[in-house]
Subunit: 355 residues, 2 copies
Amino acid sequence: MYKAAVIGAGYMGSAITFPLSANNIEVNLVGTWLDEDLIASSLAGYHPKLKKPLPGLVKPIYWQDMASAVEDVDIIFIAVTSEGFVNVFSQVLDAIDKNYYFFKLTKGLVEYKGSVVRATQAAHDMFKLKFPTLDFMWASVGGPVKAVELSDKIITASIYALNSKNLKDLAYGFSTDYYTITITDDIIGVEVSSTFKNVYSVVIGICDGLFKSTKEGMYHNFNAFLFSQAMIEMSKIAEKAGGRKETVFDLAGIGDFYVASMSGRNRRYGEYVGSGENPQKIFEKMFDEGEVAEGYLALKIGIEWVKSLGNNLINETPLLSSLYKIIFNDHDPIQELKNFTKEMSNRYRKLNIKI
Amino acid sequence: MYKAAVIGAGYMGSAITFPLSANNIEVNLVGTWLDEDLIASSLAGYHPKLKKPLPGLVKPIYWQDMASAVEDVDIIFIAVTSEGFVNVFSQVLDAIDKNYYFFKLTKGLVEYKGSVVRATQAAHDMFKLKFPTLDFMWASVGGPVKAVELSDKIITASIYALNSKNLKDLAYGFSTDYYTITITDDIIGVEVSSTFKNVYSVVIGICDGLFKSTKEGMYHNFNAFLFSQAMIEMSKIAEKAGGRKETVFDLAGIGDFYVASMSGRNRRYGEYVGSGENPQKIFEKMFDEGEVAEGYLALKIGIEWVKSLGNNLINETPLLSSLYKIIFNDHDPIQELKNFTKEMSNRYRKLNIKI
């Protein structure tokens, strides 16, 4: 029987322990230095974010004991925020001297050696520096999974993007009757989806924030227009990055973006912005309360990454550009979204449709 | 300046008069024999479904005066339910003796000459029987447009699928600063999307109905899984019918399905079913109250249509099959959706993913 360590004791790290335990996999749940309270509380029998006790097979562990916590396991899940990813993975690599099956729950891009890259690219490079001759066995996990719901055993489907067929049976083996798993080889498609669904759900939140108090439920047309355009842009980004559109137009993209648009921190962050809060200040306020709007961070570094993909991709993502202007250039949300609409209208008219 | 007649004075027929009027197009809004109350009320200054007066350029007209109402116009919008479509269009054809620009707002499949076909197929056949030498100039209108919101001037994007380039400038000409229009030649893709988003939004409603009272907001993972699978199935149906996936993965499909999943009659119908109402009885009750759940009708005849497309398409639409069993074969909603999940899990495992 396999044993696993999960690095990061926040929402997703803790939630994944439920299907793992259901499959009789013992889990060392290692909190980072930011998770001390979560570990203390979990040891006392209650996880404060999931609002319930963790399964019996889970052992909450403080960061200081990370090295021994990964020593006798076969599988390592990385479930920290994108901001902490490079630092944490580097410390994990320092602590190990054999190979593992890695599963990444982190979503987003990372800054690595002066560039913005996908987390998997950074991890691959770091791993090969330490273990030049070992196979890097890595999965990026995506799909519509709200952590609390998973821990409540709500039916959930997740997509595992694998770089090695050695991970295939292992990944399927994490499934339960409420946790359905599908696999793909398109790591790029899954990673772009996971990152940009967080970004674009901010704009869905902005739309809600703009209208919710004055037009209850009465702006779905606009939201759907934004949702549809976001999907188009996400698929273009994924394709340009080397992934596949089909991945975006399935669980990893549509599914995950749908769930992120319904609820969650990024959407909530957007709602605050739409209702007039200062984009920087409200991000920091949420951050201080332990609620990291990953979409903000992903947008901040993602816009440059999109530009770096070349071929004028940035010109094909007008919604992304408008969102950036709202969040980082002080553009008024409603005015900017009206500009976006006008821009789309002009683009539609210029389409060369043969009829 | 063009003049238009809109046939059908329900939600969508009345709502389209707002952007038309904004473009100085005079509109004869013709109610069918089922719309007498709507016309009477509109004449008195208030449209009871849109809950507001119609624009000044709109003339509400009773069915008995349909022939004269279409006589001096250039454009005819058809905005009746799919059930009434063939009958109404046939009467319109009887009343006219010249060509028009037709725009279809009706969504769904129709029964025509003993078969189930897309409404456009029926209309084309009927038109050519009457006018064998005239060009059939026809647009199927799709995209995420809730009628009340359009009449409230919420930003809305719509896609017009045209069979003739003569309609191009005309269609763009209906746009306003709140009503953005894009065009395509993929009538099939738009029609399949418009029809099946109504069908699949029933299952989103069922999921809500099942859980809403007990797990407030706590079933988004499951809903997103269903949403994503619905999109996949819709794209397969469109492709098999001769349309394009890209159309489904844009405003016509994703956008319209998103808005239908947020709110509307089909979703509400599904909610009733999920909360335990008898699927037939509650459809009839809503129908009697003037609220037609088009998704129910489309599913009823659509399942046979999907089968008729051949190549085992029906085996690639397991969610559609499950929904049919819930609505028409008395299957218990939660048990059937669990069966669907198990089925998907098995299918995922059988996928031949090369890694």
